[in-house]
């Protein structure tokens, strides 16, 4: 009996020892996003496909270690996102956490990553707080944020004479951030905000909220929401003729939204995006490759997922380690230059690159499926994102 106990103690010890060795056997990327609900087309499974494409194009290995991707659906619940991230880090030795759409979940995962010292990259979530009030030494906010959208679309609409705003806002972290950031830009440029109404996330009927907007007599209806909510709001605005008395400003519009609504319903809409598949030869090549796999053109978020993954793997290679502090140091000093963007990651974790102010084409201007945008202006990265003077992040002082 004693012998058996001793033996199991030994085997237990061996198990622990091998467990520790296992730590360096893999580079493990954990991707948590909305896979099934209103944001699933914006990133979702297509985001996982883009990340896997980047891993495959990198050769499937970095520093001799195989790269593995694991994914989960957070169902737009911050607690699910945080506990899944915690579980992967604690039990599966995750090396990098990849956050998806929904800022509520993004902010929750950033906290877990900071506590557990893991690199956290995030594309889908937009709240500017990720690299401002709630910035962390381990967060890289890669694609876009609410400040860039506000300065891009908000600034352009005010410049065109749309000074009087009413907001239709999704009632959670992202909507609040987008409304606040846009209202700030509108006021700075001499405009006014006459009111706003908050709608629950994933609302299906917008008619009531839209009538309230119409009664405000504002010129501009700012849509501080995204995905399915933006789609249903634009559709209802057309049905109630609100697009005749007010001008719609979609503050976060994705190419999948335009695809779903059709050009007839969206023609002329101004929007800010970080990327479009139809910008140049390189972007078209990625677009085609992605389309062949998924039968849809990539959104800017999905393109950013590919780019961010490659950037991370290059940093791991340069650091010769998966240690978060060493990788973050590399990330913050390496220049990024690929089909997605040219930019750098600032001390606050913000990846700074040019954004694009686009206008949706009319049906006659569009020459092929998914050809929806014409470029109005290129927005320089160091102007369109939070500036050093505006930043409240302690890491960038």
């Amino acid at each position: 009996m004693k012998k058996t106990i001793a033996l199991s103690a030994v085997s237990l010890a061996i198990a622990f020892a091998t467990g520790a060795v296992q730590a360096q056997e893999k580079v493990k990327i954990g991707f948590i996003t909305d896979m099934s609900s209103l944001y699933a087309d914006v990133e979702g499974k297509g985001g996982a496909t883009a990340i896997q494409m980047a891993i495959d194009d990198f050769g499937g290995k970095v520093n001799g270690l195989p790269i593995e991707l694991v994914t989960a659906d957070h169902q737009n619940k911050a607690d699910i996102a945080a506990s899944k991230a915690r579980e992967w880090i604690d039990t599966d030795n995750l090396t990098m956490l990849f956050g998806g759409t929904n800022s509520g979940t993004g902010l929750a995962m950033a906290k877990v990553a900071q506590e557990k010292k893991r690199v956290f990259m995030v594309n889908g979530a937009g709240a500017s707080a990720l690299t401002n009030e709630q910035c962390s030494p381990y967060t890289v906010h890669y694609a876009y944020d609410t400040v860039a959208l506000a300065k891009g679309t908000g600034g352009a609409v005010v410049a065109q004479g749309g000074k009087n705003w009413f907001f239709l806002t999704a009632d959670y972290a992202f909507g609040a951030a987008l409304e606040a950031d846009t209202a700030k830009v509108v006021k700075e440029k001499g405009g006014t905000v006459v009111g706003s109404v908050k709608h629950p996330l994933n609302a299906s009927d917008f008619s009531s909220f839209l009538l309230q907007a119409q009664n405000s007599k504002a010129q501009i209806l700012g849509l501080a929401n995204a995905g399915g909510d933006t789609i249903n709001a634009i559709k209802a605005a057309k049905e109630f003729g609100i697009n005749k008395s007010m001008k719609l400003a979609g503050l976060l519009v994705f190419i999948t939204d335009i695809h779903s609504l059709g050009l007839k319903n969206t023609e002329g809409l101004l929007l800010t995006t970080s990327w479009d598949w139809n910008l140049n030869q390189e972007t078209r090549a990625f677009g085609k490759k992605f389309f062949d796999k998924t039968k849809r053109m990539p959104t800017d978020i999905q393109a950013a997922d590919y780019s961010a993954t490659t950037t991370y793997l290059k940093a791991v290679q340069a650091a010769k380690s998966t240690d978060a502090d060493k990788v973050m140091a590399e990330l913050k000093k390496m220049p990024i230059n690929d089909f997605y963007a040219k930019g750098v990651i600032r001390p606050d974790g913000r990846m700074v690159h040019d954004m694009y102010l686009m206008q949706v084409k009319s049906p006659s201007e569009s020459t092929q499926p998914w050809d929806y945008y014409k470029m109005v202006a290129k927005l320089p990265g160091d102007e369109v994102f939070t500036t050093k003077a505006e930043s409240k992040c302690a890491l960038w002082k």
Binding site: D41, K198, A203, G227, I231, G241, N265
Partner: protein
């Protein structure tokens, strides 16, 4: 907070439009629960199926809205009959929970199939030409289509109520609910009646789906978003009560509409708050009978 009378009237009207959807969906659930004792969780998915079929008919076969208003409920009704014959009839003797689980599984399956084909952003369906314009009511511009939704669903709801409460066929149905064995002893084919009732209940869901197609984006998630509220409506109205389901549906649509004006943040929860209050005061629901 200042709300003008015209603004209030227009919000009441919009509430009634949403209430019409609640009424017609909760009516189907109430009919099914009344006779089959099954909590039909697949109702939302079948509502979605009605809308998607309408979109598919228009895009692939050029079949218009008016035809689908009749055809989609028939197709979905037949699909419902297949579900009942193949799956549901095995679980009538078991606890309610099994019916709930089975129909929830069906929901996930149906929604999953369409999600993988069409994604979640949805498909645009245009309002039929005859109803595409809007009427100026003085206090608001009401799209004609929304007025049509209210009229069509009220007609269908009250016709259903009439058949069940006032005709001989309805009397068989109600008797079947009370005591199926005794009714069967009188020579009525109860299993057939049950099958047809389920088919009819889900046809109602599909009818609502066709009505909804031009109003909200046709998407695999459209039923999921609505069905939870509709369940709350049925609980508030009282399980199995036909008139209760209709009136509660309309009433809650209006209350939800008013909440969107006075405290929009609570508009997605107000129905559940009412549900809690009703369950505390009248556990059988507003129109339900204690068993």
């Amino acid at each position: 907070m200042q709300i003008s009378l015209p603004a209030l009237l227009s919000q009441l009207l919009l509430g009634l439009v949403n209430g019409s959807f609640y009424a017609i969906l909760s009516l189907g659930l109430a009919v099914i629960f009344g006779l089959l004792n099954v909590i039909n969780f697949a109702h939302g998915a079948l509502f979605m199926l009605g809308a998607v079929l309408t979109w598919m008919a228009m895009n692939y076969f050029d079949v218009n809205y008016w035809v689908m208003l009749a055809v989609a409920p028939v197709i979905v009704g037949l699909f419902g009959i297949v579900i009942e014959r193949l799956l549901l009839r095995w679980i009538y003797k078991l606890d309610h929970l099994y019916g709930l689980l089975l129909t929830l599984g069906l929901t996930l399956l149906i929604e999953g199939v369409f999600r993988s084909i069409y994604g979640v952003s949805g498909l645009a369906y245009d309002t039929p030409d005859a109803l595409a314009s809007a009427t100026d009511l003085g206090f608001m511009i009401l799209p004609n289509y929304r007025a049509w939704v209210v009229v069509a669903s009220l007609v269908v709801c009250f016709a259903t109520w009439f058949v069940i409460e006032k005709t001989r066929l309805g009397a068989y149905l109600r008797a079947g609910t009370e005591n199926p064995r005794l009714v069967e002893a009188f020579g009525v084919n109860v299993p057939l009646m049950i099958t047809l009732t389920y088919g009819f209940g889900v046809a109602l869901a599909a009818f609502a789906g066709v009505l909804a197609a031009p109003v909200i984006q046709v998407s695999p998630l459209m039923g999921q978003n609505l069905i939870i509220v509709v369940f709350a409506v049925v609980v508030i109205g009282g399980m199995g009560s036909i008139m209760g389901a209709i009136l509660t549906g309309l009433g809650l649509g209006v209350i939800e509409g008013l909440t969107k004006v006075f405290y929009p943040e609570a508009s997605s929860t107000v129905v559940f708050v009412i549900m809690v209050i009703v369950l505390l005061i009248r556990p059988a629901g507003l129109f339900g009978k204690e068993k």
